[in-house]
Symmetry: C2
Subunit: 421 residues, 2 copies
């Protein structure tokens, strides 16, 4: 491991190399980018033993550091997980190329023909924690969208990330693309993160992948734009006219399918006028599934619930816990979500089309759903093939961020000696 | 005039009011927004005398301050200019409403139906110099796109801007929309500008309108995203296979139609293999039109030119001056523009389709043209009805920024009790 004393100089060098690579990448053909991704998948397949050996090194280091089991699990690679990463690369390879797509075109009375065409953004910085698969996923999406990328993985996953990164570089080389298109910061020095956040003019956008600590730090310190969500405080609202079976199915899935992801429901809002037996059945089903229901007011009289504290609303549990509250219809739900939500994903369960329209219209979360589980908040489920993250900001990218949202655009204007009057 | 001691507190109050108004505006119907704009145009028409009186006050203040004639001209209003502002309001009123537009929609194998729908951004801050018409233009575009706006006009135009702003507020009131939707900072205190630039969480994007000094300051100090261009260093490249008549027409128009706008050409690049007589005729026509041609190398031997200095390339003259240089074909032009351009607008003059494709493909300016004058770089000419500015950044908005680019989006997802496997 190299310990770079001068992280800023390192990032400046990497940034310059990335900018040069970006010029080449912006003009690379779809076939060439696809070839690089396929060759990287092949390399990953071939080098499985090397990658697992590197991962063993990381796991040992992490165990000695006393990392929690959940962290160790995120770090761990095996043949299955490597197979998943390889399939991910092939899936992105097979996606349509967003670069050069004509987003709109029109003619003007002056005789000009105007096209709005997708272009890469330039250089993307990705800062992530222990999951080494991000090295491949983020590298692939950046390449697909014609962007150079600087990856800064978690210090625990350095060897695993380096082994996966070597496969990406082999893919680039085989396709005749610059190796600097996908760079991995080769140091555990945390100053490299700060240097990336300040690298205006070198890095165009930063995407943090990880817990609230990392994302908060990035949002606070970054001088370059950031695509991120700080928290996924997702709400499910069960309206008085909800179908009780759908409500049960969706609420259980939204909370329990996986509790550690940002699209997991953290708060259940029930219309005060929803049938009392159905209400009890819903809470009962959550309790039966092993969920701790932190209930407020009347709901807290249901056996098995625990009383909610004030700070349980607007809280991201990422666990088998849900806050629950009665609200006054769809307007009450909207008020609650505006106050406590994080603009990530909310869902209304109702058979009342007007209530659904009101909910979907009034809320301005990145994703607003009707009769569907919040766990669908995912680029793959949206049909984007893969995602580099989920954004809740309103500028440029929002919701699941796939290859298309890693692009900018330019206008191409064609005339015939056309001059302005 | 109120001198606010505490500019930050003022902007915080205005920002809070704007955020509240933004929630209402986001759900306002197209008809209501249109009615507000039409009523504002009517008010402007009715109150012409008041506005001109206010403008007289500003003109007197500016003359006493010893402002340059060009600044006085920008500040000055008359019946004609007021008529133009009124027509602008009516034109924006008649435009399609971007909010709620379905940008894309698709079905998923899970049964989910996904729509990507345009939403307002939230609160826009506009910081401008002496032109009082921006008060109406920017206010109208923000309202059309469902955004609240905080306007900070030049200190010289305070009375004029206040008089125009009063008409906008009358329009809002008549349509039953919150007056805080369009607010004007009521002070000449420059600290208000700094406070706006730091107002994260209150203002979502800042748009500066004015000279390089203002835009540079905003880009440097802003903690919120900025849509802007620092300079318009626009290039026209005349290829060896240019039609000489088109070259002459376009170059003259690009340089001389109006020299003070950001789309005016500042540098002429001529292919070394362009016919020598046509080359001389082109330079001669510029000289005849009264343009100072700062020529380099062989071009400087043409009678009437002056020798170019090194810093004449990459320089925004905003005057009857153009830098001129010979380059080695389209690749030489691309290299020069990448080095000296400001990613605003460039044009190639050629009958060679392959050369044009190469130029349009390789350059990543916001606008790249073929056989057309750079003076078309304008929202009106692009068919956007009006523009709030031109952006050269790659995030979110680029090129002329109209109502559509003042929007964000959200995903609406509809299922039928749909859960994730």
């Amino acid at each position: 491991m190299i310990e770079h004393k001068d992280a800023a100089a390192l990032i400046a060098r990497m940034g310059e190399a990335a900018r040069q690579a970006a010029v080449e990448l912006a003009q690379a053909s779809s076939e060439r980018k696809q070839a690089a991704l396929t060759a990287a998948a092949d390399a990953l397949h071939r080098r499985q033993a090397d990658i697992l050996a590197a991962n063993n090194q990381d796991m040992e280091f992490a165990r000695n550091k006393g990392l929690a089991d959940s962290m160790l699990d995120r770090l761990r690679l095996d043949a299955d997980r490597l197979g998943g990463i390889e399939q991910g690369l092939r899936a992105v390879a097979a996606q349509p190329d967003p670069v050069g797509q004509v987003m709109a075109e029109w003619d003007r009375p002056t005789g000009l023909h105007i096209q709005r065409v997708r272009t890469p953004i330039g250089v993307i910085g990705v800062i992530y924690e222990s999951r080494p698969n991000v090295t491949a996923d983020a590298g692939a999406l950046a390449l697909k969208s014609g962007n150079a990328v600087i990856l800064r993985g978690g210090s625990e996953s350095l060897h695993s990330s380096q082994a996966i990164h070597a496969c990406m570089v082999e893919g680039l080389r085989q396709a005749g693309l610059p190796a600097a298109a996908i760079q991995l910061v080769p140091t555990r020095d945390r100053a490299a993160v700060s240097a990336m956040l300040q690298a205006q003019g070198l890095i165009d956008v930063i995407i943090p992948r990880g817990g609230k600590g990392l994302v908060g730090l990035v949002q606070q310190q970054a001088r370059v734009p950031v695509f991120a969500h700080l928290e996924g405080i997702c709400h499910v609202y069960v309206d008085r006219r909800a179908d009780p079976d759908k409500a049960l199915r969706v609420v259980l899935n939204a909370k329990t399918r996986r509790t550690g992801i940002c699209g997991a429901a953290e708060c259940l809002l029930i219309d005060r006028r929803y049938d009392e037996r159905h209400r009890a059945a819903l809470i009962g089903a959550l309790l039966d599934a092993g969920v701790e229901v932190r209930a407020e007011g009347e709901l807290a009289t249901i056996a098995g619930t625990v009383p909610a504290q004030a700070d349980d609303f607007g809280r991201e549990f990422l666990d088998m816990i849900i806050a629950a509250r009665l609200v006054d219809g769809v307007e009450g739900a909207i008020d609650h979500i505006r106050r406590f939500g994080s603009q990530h994903t909310e869902s209304i369960i109702t058979e009342d089309a007007a209530a659904a329209d009101r909910f979907l219209g009034a809320l301005d979360s990145a994703i607003v759903m009707h009769n569907a589980s919040t766990q669908f908040a995912d680029g793959g489920e949206f049909g984007m093939g893969a995602e580099i993250g989920i954004a809740t900001g309103k500028m440029h990218a929002r919701g699941p961020v796939g290859a298309e949202q890693l692009t900018s655009f330019k206008y191409l204007v064609r005339g015939d000696g056309t001059v302005r009057a």
